[in-house]
Symmetry: C2
Subunit: 312 residues, 2 copies
């Protein structure tokens, strides 16, 4: 059995590789929900949707998020009514948000709705939100006038295009959140716990901030293997560099290792970063070097195989 | 000043003609909301939308309801998730329902939201729901097994295609509903009150069932003129015949006159029904005969002109 801590696109691609090398129903993905937000009254869960659409084979291969063959007719029509349209909700994607929101309002838990939607796609892998309780990433940034202000993750990432410098991050609600049903059980039962190649600060950070999850990894540290999302000093995708730098974390596989050292016995880094292996191991983290840039599902499957072998 | 009691498509076409012959901002449309319902968690107001889209020049000219150039990508995608898709919510139409639902959930009144949406379209005519309080048409029908059951309007009209025979109609919530802000004021201030060519039972019936509205018309009966929606024993559109027959009302201009006799001094009927004029007048309702089939906006404008002249 495998448990995987997952953020968005990078995690989704890794998981799609993983389920090519192990039976899909041996895998439980524990997914970040701290980027969840509400738009035009709809509950949007970007990381759960990236994982779900990718495992369903329905994701947009070019941009990595959202659905293949997407259109934006409803969103464009919303502009007339003065509703914000900076968060690009597609017509196909809206169906997910409508179905999810209706069920949440009817009193169902996010974990139950997530499982139903995954089942609708015929996905055998268990996709579980880190928590059914609301946890929200809040970024303290420097505004245009030099004053500090607080933004929700999507406001900073999408609306402000990651431009305001980040001074701090906190996960509102984390202290009171409980792991969703099945999360601790999956971590306990796992032969291997993967930390997918996701943003360590705002994708994996919130998962570890849910009480009980960090300790579950610490107790099984030798079974935990992470894949560095930083290659050659840059994230493959997304704003990890801006966030890590803003928080004083080295934007490198070494910085990732320092973030994960207490929960993770092994780090997989890219061949391009082979020279950093001694620095990673100096932090007490075993280092495995391989090709980590997931150009295709085949490469992702190779990476998954190497990752599992690293802690076998 | 003109106040108009309005249902859906027939009313919308009449109003589009009316605003060609009088200044649009002299007109207040008081619209039926008893067909409103919730689909996938969205508040849908079919008659308000038909009137709004038509006055905006954005309605689908062929089917009469919904928006021109509509598509159904979100709805089709909802089918995968097991959500009901029999109510055909289009992608453009969804923008209206999303904006409205978000604002209603934020605590705004339906009348305020309706005014905002109309303003977004640049509509000068006032579009006012009959009430901000929920009134819902409930039909008692004979089910397939011969047993009586109760259906919401859209369930009977769209999902069941008007097939189950109707035994009775009631307007749940009507007794406790208050006219929306501006309704009684518009009826008071109007030189002419039009009852648009709408279904007398389930479009005009609920408006008259809101306490205070029927009396306002009774008190000004000589200023009230209705247009028969029945031509040659058939409704131009919609299920008025099935409903009228089920309730023992003659499916004719005479039947319409008998329904409206207490609130309406004048009835406009089609030239095809000229032979019914004596029977209409026998009910104490003055009868005007003209062409009432609104084949084009020009014909609708002629009809509006004749209607206003009838009580001038």
């Amino acid at each position: 059995m495998i448990a995987a801590l997952a953020g968005g696109v990078g995690a989704a691609r890794f998981l799609a590789g993983l389920v090519r090398v192990v039976p899909p129903d041996d895998v439980t993905a524990i997914v970040n929900t701290a980027d969840d937000d509400e738009f035009v009254g709809l509950y949007v869960s970007p990381d759960i949707d990236s994982v779900t659409y990718t495992l369903a084979g329905a994701s947009d291969a070019v941009q990595g998020w959202g659905r293949a063959g997407e259109s934006f007719r409803t969103l464009d029509a919303l502009g007339r009514f003065g509703e914000p349209t900076w968060f690009r909700l597609g017509d196909l994607d809206l169906a997910t948000h409508l179905a999810r929101t209706r069920r949440l309002h009817a009193g169902e838990a996010l974990s139950a709705v997530t499982a139903q939607l995954a089942a609708s796609w015929g996905i055998a892998t268990r996709i579980v939100p880190m928590s059914d309780d609301p946890v929200r990433t809040r970024l303290t940034v420097t505004g245009a006038d030099g004053q500090l202000l607080e933004l929700a993750m999507q406001e900073w990432f999408v609306r402000e295009r990651c431009e305001p410098p980040v001074q701090g991050v906190h996960f509102a609600g984390a202290a009171a959140a409980r792991p969703a049903p099945g999360v601790l059980e999956a971590l306990d039962a796992a032969d291997t716990i993967c930390i997918c190649p996701s943003n360590p600060v705002i994708s994996i950070g919130p998962i570890l901030a849910v009480p009980g999850i960090r300790r579950a990894l610490e107790e099984r540290r030798e079974r935990v293997v992470a894949i560095s999302p930083i290659i050659g000093g840059k994230p493959v995708k997304g704003p990890a560099d801006r966030l890590m730098r803003g928080l004083g974390i080295d934007v490198s596989a070494v910085g990732v290792a320092s973030e994960y050292a207490s929960v993770c016995g092994t780090l997989v880094i890219d061949a391009l970063d082979a020279h950093l292996a001694p620095a990673v191991e100096a932090l007490g983290v075993r280092c495995v070097v391989t090709d980590t840039l997931m150009r295709s599902p085949e490469v992702a499957a190779d990476l998954a195989r190497r990752t599992l072998a690293a802690v076998a």
